[in-house]
């Protein structure tokens, strides 16, 4: 007979940050309907409030001050509430808060101030949080959709403008296309192991007999296709082609948020599926997971393509889009390194550290672009950076910090992220990739430092406007980048106990 579970079995409390956020989003949706058009700022404040509450809960959980719920698994093993989830939550909530701050005035002056923006942001964030906590393949997919669809709408938020609509269309089509690959891959994994729960997959893979080629086939193909589907989300080559167009066409405040959040979600899911689900999936006489080779090849290709094409860009948003692709490559090195079991924990921590550092840096960089951008979305070319140091010294200084961080210069958070990732790569014996990573970082210095050069040593208008919330966001990002750069142990302490292994 079928046994009716009780409500406490669900252990909803363990998922408190995510649940609070999702509920909050639903409530704000309704509340916003009754907020008159001129007062849409109320929704923004409500959103910020909801995000803050969720952030506080996530921080409390991360620092082990409070333990929510009863054990690590919620919703019958579909939601895993461990340190990994907590850190993912913190990263994406910080990003969202910053995203709301930069959007506050931007929406006003570009006539896009509609309440939908804010709670769509909340839904995306909730999606990322669920992706980070996924304990089941189905959850991975649903969360991915929850993450993606609001982003499609947000990309096309600047409705009359053609560029925005076009990029939304491209994003949607390609996104749907890749989701299809993802679903197929997840289905194949299910077929190979007979279950969709990640813990049980891990157990099944463990006991999969070597030489059972057909199961291996299915599983490998499934893993490969999952890589494809999730690789699209994080803009890995060769699934990156939507990135430049979407980043250029979407409203800049959306890009600021999306560039980080989508990556966080994508990498979190990738780590869950590959590193938690099938870490010990080794072929006959291998010492590393079967999916490791593909991953580092993808990483290498991503870094190379991203960095090279960025050199010849003349539009800031497009340049940062390719930079985003390149950084996805660096992070993929970390994912690849997790294929070696003894390095898996170190590599997972490295990925999260990198993402945290990247969050501050990238949101900051895009915020500066928002400051420079005019109401009609022009003035986003490289030339807008000319002479910025003279008219807006603080803004230029912040941008310089962000550029240095993206390059990976020591004393910035970007360097800390790269350090940990490369360390993990070398520990996993992936020397060639690490070398490519370092070389392409050198290459990237050209286009990042070129911006710094233009700000300080060339003449230009340097027009920019920094309303208070935007200035605060830039300030927080800059300070975060520098603080994490000077005190790297803050990051590594946060990530210290993170492990994806199911143990036992």
């Amino acid at each position: 007979m079928f046994q009716v579970p009780s409500l406490s079995d669900l252990n909803v409390a363990a998922a408190l940050p995510a649940v609070v956020l999702a509920l909050g989003a639903c409530v704000f949706l309704v509340v916003d309907l009754f907020v008159p058009r001129e007062r849409k700022h109320i929704t923004a404040w409500l959103t910020a409030g909801g995000l803050s509450v969720s952030l506080v809960l996530a921080l409390l959980s991360l620092t082990d001050v409070v333990t929510f719920g009863d054990g690590e698994e919620a919703f019958f093993g579909m939601y895993i509430a461990d340190q990994f989830t907590d850190m993912v939550n913190v990263i994406v909530l910080v990003t969202s808060l910053l995203g709301v701050m930069v959007a506050y005035n931007y929406l006003d002056r570009t006539n896009m101030q509609r309440g939908e923006y804010y709670y769509l942001l909340l839904f995306t964030t909730a999606g990322v949080m669920f992706m980070g906590a996924a304990g089941d393949l189905v959850v991975v997919f649903v969360a991915l959709e929850l993450l993606s669809i609001p982003l499609y709408i947000l990309t096309g938020f600047r409705r009359p403008q053609e560029q925005s609509e076009e990029s939304a269309m491209k994003y949607f089509l390609l996104g749907a296309f890749s989701s299809a690959f993802l679903v197929y891959g997840l289905a194949l994994v299910y077929g190979a192991t007979g279950t969709s729960n990640l813990r049980e997959i891990w157990q099944a893979v463990d006991s999969m007999v070597a030489g059972d080629t057909s199961a291996q086939f299915l599983l490998l193909t499934g893993a490969g296709l999952s890589l494809v589907g999730l690789g699209f989300k994080v803009a890995a080559v060769p699934f990156h082609m939507w990135t430049p167009d979407v980043y250029q066409g979407a409203p800049t405040s959306v890009v600021a948020y999306m560039s980080v959040a989508a990556k966080v979600g994508g990498f979190a899911a990738l780590l869950r599926v590959l590193v938690a689900g099938m870490p010990n999936f080794m072929l006959d006489n291998g010492t590393s997971a079967a999916w490791m080779d593909v991953t580092w090849l993808l990483a290498a290709a991503t870094m190379i393509v991203g960095n090279f094409i960025a050199i010849v860009q003349s539009d800031l948003k497009r340049l940062l889009a390719y930079s985003s692709i390149a950084h996805a490559g660096y992070i993929l090195i970390g994912v690849a390194a997790a294929g070696v079991p003894r390095v898996a924990d170190e590599a997972t921590q490295a990925v999260l550290i990198y993402l945290m550092a990247y969050a501050f840096t990238n949101v900051g960089a895009f915020s500066v672009i928002i400051a420079v951008e005019r109401d009609d979305a022009s003035n986003t070319g490289l030339s807008s950076m000319r002479g910025l140091a003279r008219t807006q010294p603080l803004l230029a200084a912040a941008m310089a910090v962000f550029m240095l961080s993206l390059t990976g210069i020591p004393l910035t958070a970007g360097f800390v992220g790269k350090w940990f990732v490369f360390k993990a790569a070398i520990a996993a014996d992936l020397i060639p990739v690490a070398v490519i990573g370092v070389l392409t970082s050198v290459l990237s210095a050209y286009y990042y430092l070129r911006i710094v050069w233009m700000m300080y040593f060339e003449d230009g208008d340097g027009e920019a406007a920094t309303p208070r919330p935007l200035a605060w966001a830039i300030g927080i990002s800059a300070i975060g980048t520098l603080v994490f750069g000077f005190l790297p142990y803050l990051l590594s302490d946060m990530a210290r106990e993170i492990t994806l292994a199911f143990g036992g």
Partner: protein, 762 residues
Amino acid sequence: MENFFDLVPLVVFVPLVGLLINLFTGKHLGERGVGIVAVGASGIAFLISLLLWLAQVDTGYKPVVVDLPLFSDWISIPAAGVEIPWQFRVDTLSVTMMMAVTFVGTVIHLYAVGYMHGDERFPRFFVYMNLFLVFMLILVTGNNFLMMFVGWEGVGLCSYLLIGFWFDKPGGVGWKNSDAARKAFIVNRVGDFGLVLGVLITFWTFGTLDFYKPDELPMAAHHAAEAAEEPVFAPEIPHEAEPHIEGPMGVFNQAEVWLEEGGHDVNFGMFSLSFESTITVITLLFLLGATGKSAQIPLFVWLPDAMAGPTPVSALIHAATMVTAGVYMMVRSNVFYHASDAASFVVALIGATTAIVAGFIAVGQWDIKRVLAYSTISQLGFMVAAVGVGAYAAAMFHLVTHAFFKALLFLGSGSVIHGMEHGHHHVAHGGHDHDDEFDPQDMRYMGGLRHKMPRTYWTYLFGTLALAGIIPFAGFWSKDEILLDALKAGVDDARLEGYLAFVLLVMAAAFTAFYMWRQMALVFYGKPRHAAAEHAEESSNLMVYPLIVLAFFSLVIGVINVPSGFPILGAIFGEHEFTSWLEHAVTYAHAASFNVLLASFAVVLALVAIYVARAIYNDRALETLGQQDPLELDERTEGLFAVAKAKLYWDDAYFKYLIFPYRRAAYWLAEQLDWRFWHDYVHKTVIQKNFHIATEFLTQPVDKGIIDRGFNSLGRLMQIIAQRIRVIQTGYVRTYAWTVLLGTLLVVFIILFPVIRGMLGL
């Protein structure tokens, strides 16, 4: 209650926050806001000190070492065995200093809000004052010599900043102020040199700079033996019998152990000294530091000049707190001084000599603050002499009482000066802007202020009586105890320095009473001798209330250490409360029982001196004062007075025999060695020319040709590659989707490659 000890970092941190607030937002806060922040910070620090005091009482006076989480590994080089943590020490000695510093500090901060009213750089002043508090508190709460040194240097810096605060006053006055500031700093440096050497040798000898390690208690062995001579205390104070002997020890316990063992040598590389001699060297070097900071012979010359700073500064730094740092340091190191008879001898001698020399000079001064400055030097001499004869508790007692009444006197003098300036404004209002001849601090222009500024007068009177040592005011108790201890050291222990110190200190006490009454007479009695004094007005409440508070304490604070055997008061307030309190931190603190004869002698002496002063500076003499002191007019005292007025020609001697030759030598070296030889010949001809030849070579063919060309080509190659790659981005969704498909096939193929290979048996 124990948890209160964790608050001690706040005592440093709160004034730091206060100064940061004032530094960054001071301009927007207005005088009231800045004052509230500064006084508030100081007040909160006092409250915390109070809590710490209560916590100490509650936990049996045990010393506690508090670690600050992020900073405990302040200087840590494990490979070299260097471990100097940033730790706070809360024991009875440091709590005493904390409370004295913060209480007097808060009162003076409050006074300063009124005193500095209208100053252009009002916020900056309070930033410096709070900064001073921060450093002074680091000095007294540090658990090792290096932290003490950090505080030592820091208060020196603040002294410099505050003395020269009015560096931009017109008419050459600004220059004088900044000169005084520089003098203070440089003279202090000489002393610091001694202190640094002492600290270094201490580290070399002991391998650590910690006073005591955490959980380590001061050793009681020696003390118990001495306590046996004073049966009054032994039963009351539970001495910690078994100190922490195993494992690493702090400096003082380690010293005690080695002294007991004997025969320990310290190796300095080329030679080695016995441990006892090393201690003597260390203590003498520390003494050098103390002569700088606490203005003893020979480095006292900066203190009188430091009066150029605003009066609250003089009160706080150069009377109550900073100058007592040297005394604190020596009391903290009482274990060392107790072990070295030779050093103690020198210390006592220097202290006593300074006391009387300064007292002598004070008689001949006309500037109201200068009298007080020399008085401070003299009283510091008392404290230092007390340390020299082994009366550590007495020294601390005098430090505490002196803080109150000297601060009172300085603040009172500030009130007088303000009144004089106000009067001068009143007078010169109609005519020219200011009378260049008029100096509001010159006592010759004052007189009769008793009626014009009554509250200032009465509080100043209290302070004078306290300083002169008239019972029941505070100064009597502490000064009497020092005299008693000196006499005892001479008589009972047959130590020469005891006798000498006693005699000199008694004479100095007499001088003290004399010059203080001279000052009272010149300032407050008689009739006003200048229009400014005629129109002087009482100062604002903000300035007078602190005076009243300090006056109250000058009267009553003596009861904290009533000597044993004193009738009535001893029973009410307990005997030697303060000494017993200190004993928990100062191993060799001991008390003396009351000697009626000596006490009466001291009081009578002071009264006689006052009577003599009154006689000389009677009303008739005051009226016809003009520019000459009655002592100048009398042939018998003419010569002595001139010498006193000229400050014993001390400054002039320094200038003639030290500074001037130094300058000549520096100039000659700069001209000959540095400029002519080094710059002209070596640099220009030898180095520069040859360097040019080399660089010319390297630039042309090497740099431009090879390196530049190489890198430019590399860069261009990257550009070309990038241009080639970028064309795949067509902008068409169909191309993108096609690429995704292609990529998928590639990924699946690569991932399946090993399996396929296995299947095909390759």
